[in-house]
């Protein structure tokens, strides 16, 4: 068994490396137009355990406009045009609960990939996943350091996670059957690596401002795609 597994892994890397030669990166920026809304402060008095973990104010992550006028936490992925099968990486995606907030707030993962949910707080969190396509689950993690492993078996954009104990806590996950997704960072940039050349529909998803899409042709040198939110 072991040798067969090793063989598979070798073949997998072989294919990956040939892809890498011919693939380019899809990069871009999500700009924000108009006046940036003020950050919304989260009141954590409802659970004194949470309030004690923060010294300054905590802000909601649903709309974060970066200093350079770009929008953070936009999920970008290839919606149409991806060919071939991509097996899930063995490394898990980690969703941490720290200071009664989810980290990261927006993330992506592949079908079949392990999602490791970790509680770093000395209070109860329950991870209530509310997918439409996949099987919902609701798991309690009463203690600090508890871990739960889950995975999804169907692609779905986005799966919402909620903590029923702390109603301000939410996270969204894009579950895809390929690895071509990214989330815009604190500079508004995203970078989808190693996209095989071809024409794709790229979709962006934002929690408050919804979805946009764009046709993009990726060559071996890569491509660029810029988006503007809210939709002009």
């Amino acid at each position: 068994m072991k040798t067969i597994n090793q063989l598979y892994i070798m073949v997998f890397f072989l294919i990956l490396s040939t892809l890498a030669v011919h693939a380019g990166d899809l990069k871009g920026t999500v700009k924000f137009s108009g006046k940036a809304p003020a950050l919304r402060e989260i009141k954590m008095e409802g659970d004194r355990n949470c309030a004690q973990m923060h010294h300054g104010p905590v802000y909601s992550e649903d709309v974060i406009v970066n200093k350079n006028g770009t929008l953070k936490n936009v999920f970008v992925y290839l919606k149409e045009g991806v060919k071939g099968k991509y097996s899930a990486p063995s490394t898990p995606v980690v969703l941490a609960q720290e200071g009664c907030m989810y980290h990261p707030h927006i993330f992506g993962m592949q079908v079949g990939q392990t999602l490791e949910i970790v509680n770093d707080d000395p209070t109860l969190h329950n991870i209530h996943a509310l997918p439409k396509e996949n099987t919902p689950f609701n798991v309690g993690q009463p203690l600090k350091g508890m871990k739960t492993a889950k995975s999804f078996d169907k692609p779905e954009v986005m799966v919402k996670f909620k903590c029923d104990v702390h109603n301000w806590m939410s996270a969204y996950c894009g579950v895809l059957d390929h690895p071509f997704f990214a989330v815009s960072d604190e500079n508004g940039n995203f970078d989808i690596k190693n996209v095989p050349p071809g024409t794709y529909t790229v979709e962006t998803w934002h929690e408050k401002y919804g979805v946009q899409d764009m046709k993009v042709t990726v060559t071996a040198k890569g491509a660029k795609a810029n988006f503007v939110y809210p939709k002009p």
């Binding site: 109860l124 209530h128 509310l130 099987t135 689950f137 609701n138 798991v139 309690g140 993690q141 009463p142 203690l143 508890m146 871990k147 739960t148 492993a149 909620k162 029923d164 109603n167």
Partner: protein, 585 residues
């Protein structure tokens, strides 16, 4: 179990599980019920670990439960809730009721009234198998995605409506159990009415039979309410109806897409319409067992037999109109709550009458402290505590601070655990010679008794302290995060250790039970010098019980009759005109 006439040509293994003999079915009920009792108790011991040491891994066996239930051996809150719901369900529906009605009722009622069998033997077998089916259904729910039912044994909607698949299995199990109970109670009532031996008038029935008679009616008429409720909840869960779901619900931030227009309180009414009579289903047969043991071991007639019978009938009737005292805090007005408080106070009177009659029966007796008698005697004060602590719960105003706290748990466990379960133990020790022709070991029996008495109180008495301090029930951490609970939390450890020691003291019982079946001391047929008819049959009684059927001449408890040499005069003994005994009132 041995019967030459009908069983001679059939293989034995098939016989036991398909036998229509009421005694075999009774024994099957008994063993199955005891197994469930043990399972329910084990579940409770697990929960007690979590309560005593919240969030610490369960030692030794923690890894058995898997990542979904107890990662690293630490019990998850949802698993705790599953255990809580299943502990209640198993103990009430699968443990105690099948033992007191299915086992004791089935085995003893035909014998005590001098009948060859139950009125409908095939139906009897069917009700046993429906019970097993219901039990398996309930247990299988543990292996469903999301685990077993976790909305409490009361399954209040909307929580139960939106719960995981295990709840559906719970409901199906309840429907099976309701059918089983219905068939069983039809059988018991018909048997008592129709198959009484010649001369066995209603006022000559042993008190145990009376208790079974009333219990039969309670099961017959109360269970359908839960059955109906279960059908409605199943519809809610499977067909998307909203019998128990009002409009405008938002669950976990998502509006619930149902038609709405239902009422969560409807379930509570239907449920408690069953569940209050169910309490008397648990306790009446236990009182019957205790009455039999007391009369025999005091060597005198029960005091106030008639008043006990009337009290039981009254109790049975009243138990149908007190149910809403479980729902005082659902927003009840003065008039309705006043009515249910009044009925609750009224129903306490017949309970007091029965308890006092049993106590007074001791006066003037020649008391033999046999093992069954010890359990029967302990039943009296334990049931007393359980009954008395019902008083503040039955008054709305004192129910406010105590409602849904550990006080409630203490209250009903005193009635069921050191109450009914003690009666069950006493009954097993008392009738074991009839079942096997052998007696159980007394030394082991006494060890079992002493340990059980001490540690039952160790488990349940501190619950009153926690309850008065205001600690809610069904908390995963036993209230550890609340300020007002801090000064009583140490009792959790005390209760848990008591529970585990209580388990240790059940070992002598289990050993005794199995050892005595084969190796117990052989004893004569009427080992206790008792008067009721079951002791007139051989031990164990053959299929058909009596050859010929007995004839009854007097009341059930004619002990120490003046002018008669022996201190007991069996119901079926004929002594001519000269010794005709005046019926005792």
């Amino acid at each position: 179990m041995e019967n030459h006439e009908t069983q001679i040509s059939k293989p034995k293994s098939r016989l036991i599980f398909l036998s229509t003999d009421h005694k075999t079915i009774g024994i099957l009920y008994g063993f199955t019920g005891l197994l469930f009792l043990l399972l329910g108790f084990s579940i409770m011991m697990l929960m007690r670990w979590q309560l005593a040491f919240p969030g610490q891994p369960i030692p030794f066996i923690g890894s058995w439960f898997g990542q979904d239930r107890a990662p690293g051996g630490i019990m998850l809150p949802e698993f705790y809730n599953q255990l809580g719901a299943m502990h209640g369900t198993i103990m009430v529906f699968l443990g105690v009721v099948p033992i007191v009605v299915g086992a004791f009722g089935n085995y003893l009622v035909p014998l005590q009234i001098g009948a060859p069998d139950m009125a409908f033997p095939k139906l009897n077998l069917m009700s046993y198998w429906l019970y097993v089916l219901g039990g398996l259904c309930a247990l299988s729910s543990f292996f469903m995605p999301g685990g077993a039912a976790q909305s409490g044994w009361t399954s209040y909607p909307p929580l139960a409506d939106i719960a995981t698949t295990g709840q559906t299995f719970w409901l199906i199990a309840i429907i099976f159990l309701a059918l089983s109970s219905m068939l069983n109670s039809i059988n018991i009532i018909t048997t008592i009415v129709q198959l009484r031996a010649k001369g066995m008038t209603f006022m000559r029935l042993p008190f145990f039979v009376w208790a079974q008679f009333i219990t039969g009616f309670l099961l017959l008429l109360a269970f359908p309410a839960l059955e109906a409720a279960s059908v409605l909840q199943l519809m809610d869960r499977l067909a998307g109806t909203s019998f128990f779901l009002p409009s405008g619900l938002v669950v976990s931030g998502q509006p619930l897409s149902v038609s709405g227009g239902g009422s969560p309180l409807l379930w509570q009414h239907l449920f408690w319409f069953l569940a209050h009579p169910e309490v008397y289903v648990l306790i009446l047969p236990a009182m019957g067992i205790v009455a039999e043991i007391l009369a025999n071991n005091t060597r005198k007639p029960l005091w106030g037999y008639r008043s006990m019978v009337y009290a039981t009938i009254f109790l049975g009737f009243m138990s149908f109109i007190v149910w809403a005292h479980h729902m005082f805090l659902t927003g009840m007005g003065t008039i309705i709550s006043g009515f249910f408080q009044a009925t609750t106070m009224i129903i306490s009177i017949p309970s007091v009458v029965i308890l006092l009659a049993l106590l007074i029966s001791l006066w003037g007796g020649s008391i033999r402290f046999t093992t069954p008698m010890l359990f029967a005697l302990a039943f009296l004060p334990m049931f007393g505590i359980g009954g008395l602590t019902g008083l503040p719960l039955g008054l709305t105003i004192s129910d406010i601070p105590l409602h849904d706290t550990y006080y409630v748990i203490g209250h009903f466990h005193y009635i069921v655990a050191p109450g009914t379960v003690f009666a069950i133990f006493g009954g097993i020790y008392y009738w074991f010679p009839k079942l096997t022709g052998r007696k159980m070991n007394d030394v082991l029996g006494r060890i079992h008794f002493a340990g059980s008495l001490v540690f039952m109180n160790g488990v349940f008495f501190p619950m009153f302290i926690l309850g008065l301090a205001g600690v809610s029930r069904r908390l995963w951490d036993g209230g550890a995060q609340y300020q007002f609970a801090q000064h009583v939390l140490h009792w959790h450890e005390f209760m848990s250790i008591s529970a585990w020691l209580l388990a240790v003291f059940q070992i002598p019982f289990i050993v005794n039970l199995f050892w005595s079946i084969r190796k117990g001391k052989k004893v004569r047929e009427n080992y206790w010098d008792a008067t009721t008819l079951e002791w007139a049959a051989s031990s164990p009684p053959p299929h058909g019980n009596f050859f010929p059927l007995p004839e009854v001449y007097r009341s059930p408890y004619e002990y120490s009759v003046p002018g008669y040499a022996e201190d007991f005069l069996p119901q079926n003994q004929f002594f001519g005109e000269g010794l005709k005994i005046k019926e005792k009132g």
